[in-house]
Amino acid sequence: MADNKENPLKKVCIICAKGTIEDVYATLVMANGAVMEGIEAKVFFTFFGLDAITKKQMSKLKTATVGNPAMRAPGGLPFPTILGMLPGVEAGVSAMMKSQMEKLDIPPVDEFLEMITAGGGEIYACKLAMDMFKLEKEDLWEEVKDVLTVGDFYAMCGGENTQIIFT
């Protein structure tokens, strides 16, 4: 602990490449947690992670109900994958995830991003993924600071006691 106090973490660069509720929130919680501790945070959204900062998609994130062996029904009962395929199940499960988070005072994606930028955190989008998904800067949430190449992002990740985190 003494060593940690003398030599604390100063900056985190977080990369979010996936667009499910839990992947995006892992990124948002870690970024917000950093700025709340006075740690600089830069967040880079790429591939399907771009959904989290795309105006049209950011409030419609879902949890995958197929191919997710850790997902169980309330009470810990098994949740067969075949159920996850039924229409409406993904939407229902996703709505439930969101309501559980709201109970813990975890905000919706747009508000969470605002909390991060209010604390000085910076949000970036990946240029390559934007080109791939045919997205323009106007499609992104207004406070996205810039669209970057991976080289640009690495250039921001220098400095003492900086960590890159891939969620």
């Binding site: 919680v29 947690g33 709340m36 006075g38 005072d105 905000p107 209010a118």
Partner: protein, 91 residues
């Protein structure tokens, strides 16, 4: 006080103690600071889990304002100065 500088008995708290703790962190407390501290103390007394989101919705200040009032620790420093335990939430 515990070894992280949080008061162990919040009933011993008063404005002078808060001002003293804040000065050690280089912050001069204003009325707005005290409003936040009183809000946190009241919420803590009710057993609520504190988050910056809750303070941001209190009407005292928004989240940006909270970061300006308590630089580098909007919830940690404010909780410390309010004489309540270190926040146990991640938001």
């Amino acid at each position: 006080m515990n070894d992280e500088g949080y008061m162990t008995d919040s009933t011993q708290w008063n404005r002078e103690i808060a001002a003293e703790m804040a000065r050690e962190e280089g912050i001069e407390l204003t009325d707005e600071h005290y409003e936040v501290l009183e809000f946190l103390r009241a919420a803590n007394e009710k057993g609520e889990t504190l988050t910056i989101r809750k303070v941001g919705k209190s009407g005292i200040t928004d989240i940006k304002g909270l970061y300006q009032l308590f630089p580098g620790g909007p919830l940690k420093l404010s909780s410390k100065f309010a004489g309540i335990p270190k926040p146990a939430s991640c938001v």
